[in-house]
Symmetry: C2
Subunit: 136 residues, 2 copies
DNA sequence: CGGGATCCTATTGGATACTG
DNA sequence: CAGTATCCAATAGGATCCCG
């Protein structure tokens, strides 16, 4: 059954109907599949921290300032599993471990930047919306 | 100020290009402040579902296919609080409630679209990375 | 220095029953 | 139809101790 509604002024996104028409079900949805692994509390912040240069474990911990050691280890492992960053061990004493964006991770940054710039540009508007909602 | 190769002296993250020069602390970070409210399991999918036209409650539920009624209500309320969508009640019997993107919500879609297109384009690469990681 | 292992709490989210 | 209310399971995430 075709969609009888008009198309959006700019085709920013496929509709859920279109996604479904391509054979994606809730169990096979690229949005859920990919985004559910970077939607956690720290992943995006870590990717941003690594955008300019590699960081060692302790450097990252200081850069994020309020992340627990457990979550830093765990999130780094998750991002490495997704192929977004690499982990390099230098066998010095004590050992040094360097985390860096992979080309795949680097390729995600422009898209993330669009969301981040939107967040920064609209933060005040959102705060106003929250206040108005909470008042009612 | 030219970019330097050593770590910044403070624990503040630097963001992408045009906000890179702006320091922010964990307590005043637009990324955390804004994104922490839409990085849940359903918010992005709901925004996508509403991109073309408003939806009623039951329509949305069918569109998302596997969302519980509780989470749909809760996520819609959250997005309304952020000012991303509007809720309109038509006093018919039985009542009809229509959810629609606000201009603010609509303005977020291009940025989200960039991430989603990245996810679709790189899903296979990510699956390969996961398989390689899990094998080791 | 860079973690691993363990314990604990807080939050998320699903299932179900009920309502105007 | 569009929710609310309640209970419960699963997960996320912090604190602490330990080790090579």
């Amino acid at each position: 059954m075709p969609r009888q509604t008009k198309a959006p002024p700019d085709p920013f996104l496929k509709s859920l109907d279109d996604i479904r028409a391509e054979g994606f079900s809730p169990d096979n949805c690229p949005i859920r599949d990919v985004m559910s692994h970077i939607n956690d509390k720290w992943s995006v912040l870590i990717l941003i921290a690594l955008q300019d240069r590699p960081h060692r474990f302790g450097e990252l911990r200081r850069a994020l300032a309020d992340i627990s050691q457990r979550m830093l280890t765990q999130t780094l492992k998750g991002l490495q599993r997704e192929g977004l960053l690499s982990r390099t061990v230098f066998p010095t004493t004590p050992p040094a471990v360097e985390y860096a964006l992979t080309p795949l991770g680097l390729s995600l940054l422009p898209a993330l930047g669009a969301v981040i710039r939107w967040a920064e540009a609209n933060q005040a508007t959102i705060h106003a919306a929250r206040a108005a909602f909470d008042e009612a």
